[in-house]
Symmetry: C2
Subunit: 205 residues, 2 copies
C-alpha cells in the first residue's frame, strides 16, 4: 500500500512543520495558514490530511509522545543493572540536548493551550506518571528501594522532580544543563535506594 | 494624593480582569479588546492606564508574584521552629487551594507566552530558585541539613520538586491535592534533614 505510507509520511512532515511553527511563534501563531506555509502546502492540501486544526495539533503532540516512548523502550531493552537502567530512563525523559529541549517546549506550549480545549487531548496522562510508578516498583522488586519508603509518595515525588527539572531545563538551559540534571537525578535515586552492598558494584562516583 | 491612589487601584483592577480573561480564554484570548470588556472599560480608557498590551501583561504578572511573596514574607515573620517554617513556606509556594491554583495557571500561561517575547519579563528568575537556596542554607545554619548533602544540588532538587508539584497541582488537582502535596513535601524535607533529636520535639506524624 504505497499510497497509504505516503499519506502517513506526509502527515508526519506536517506535524514536524507544526512543531517548528509553535517553537517560532508560540501556540498563538500556530494557525492553519502558518502551518500550511511552513509545510509548503496550500490550505486546501493541508485540509486533505487533517480536516480540523485540533486534529492536526493532537496528531503532532502524539508524535512527540511516541518519540519519547520509543527512546525509553530502547533503554528498557538494554542489559544493564537495574539502578543504572532507572538512571538512564530518567535522563532520557528530562530533556538534555537541543532536540529534546525543543520537544519539551512544544509539549509544554501545547499542554497550556489544551487546558482551554475540553476533551481535546489528555496531556495530564502522558504516561510519565505511570512510568514513575513502574520505576519505583522495579527498584523495589530488586530490593534496591529503601525499606521505609512509601512507594506511592515516592512515585509522586519522582514525577514532580522529573517534570520540574524538565521545565527548568527548558526555561534556563544554561544553569540546568545535562551535567547538573544528571547530578540531581543521581542524588535523588541514591537517596531513595539502599546503600550499595558488595553484590552490586559501584559504578558512579 | 487620592488621584494617584485611584490610578493604581484601577491598574490593579485591570490586572485582575486580565487574569480572568487568561483563565477563561488562554493567552491567545488576552487581547486588549477582551481585557477592556472584562474590566468594563473602553479601549481608549484602557490605553490611559497601559500604553501597550505587553506593559499591561507584565504588570499583571508582577502582581501575581507580589501576592506570593507577601504570603511567604508573612510566614517568615512567624515564630515557629526552623524545620516547620521551611515546611510552611514550601506549602505556600505550591498551590493548594482554588485561588493559588488559578494564580499558578495564569503564571504558567504567561511564562510560556513570554518565551517568544524577548526581554519582556524574566519569568526564569521569579525569585523561587533563590528562595530555595535560602531555605537550604537556613536548614544548614540550624544544623538540620544532613551533613553529607551537597547544598547546591539540594537547592536545585528542591526547586524542581516544588515547581513539578505546582505544575501537577494545576494539571491534575484531584490526585495532586493539598494532602498529597503535604505528604510529598514532608517526605522530602525529612529525607534531606538529620533525624530528629530530643532537642526539637516531633510535631508531625
Amino acid at each position: 500500500m504505497p499510497k497509504q505510507i505516503d499519506h502517513e509520511k506526509r502527515r508526519k512532515e506536517i506535524a514536524e512543520a507544526t512543531w517548528r511553527v509553535i517553537l517560532e511563534r508560540g501556540m498563538e501563531g500556530a494557525s492553519a495558514r502558518n502551518i500550511a506555509k511552513e509545510a509548503g502546502l496550500s490550505l486546501g492540501a493541508l485540509r486533505h490530511y487533517f480536516s480540523t486544526q485540533d486534529e492536526l495539533l493532537v496528531f503532532a503532540m502524539k508524535l512527540v509522545q511516541e518519540k519519547v516512548m520509543a527512546r525509553i523502550k530502547d533503554i528498557t531493552m538494554r542489559n544493564v543493572p537495574p539502578k543504572e537502567k532507572v538512571l538512564h530512563i530518567l535522563l532520557e525523559i528530562v530533556p538534555t540536548n537541543e532536540e529534546t529541549v525543543r520537544e519539551m517546549e512544544v509539549w509544554f506550549a501545547f499542554t497550556v493551550y489544551a487546558r482551554h480545549k475540553k476533551d481535546m487531548f489528555d496531556a495530564n496522562h502522558d504516561g510519565i506518571y505511570s512510568g514513575m510508578r513502574n520505576l519505583i516498583a522495579y527498584l523495589d522488586e530488586f530490593d534496591l528501594l529503601r525499606q521505609d519508603a512509601d512507594k506511592d509518595i515516592e512515585a509522586e515525588r519522582l514525577y514532580a522532580l522529573i517534570d520540574g527539572l524538565a521545565l527548568h531545563a527548558m526555561l534556563d538551559p544554561v544553569r540546568v544543563n545535562k551535567d547538573r540534571i544528571k547530578r540531581v537525578i543521581m542524588q535523588h535515586v541514591e537517596s531513595i535506594c539502599v546503600k550499595e552492598t558488595n553484590e552490586t558494584e559501584e559504578r558512579n562516583p
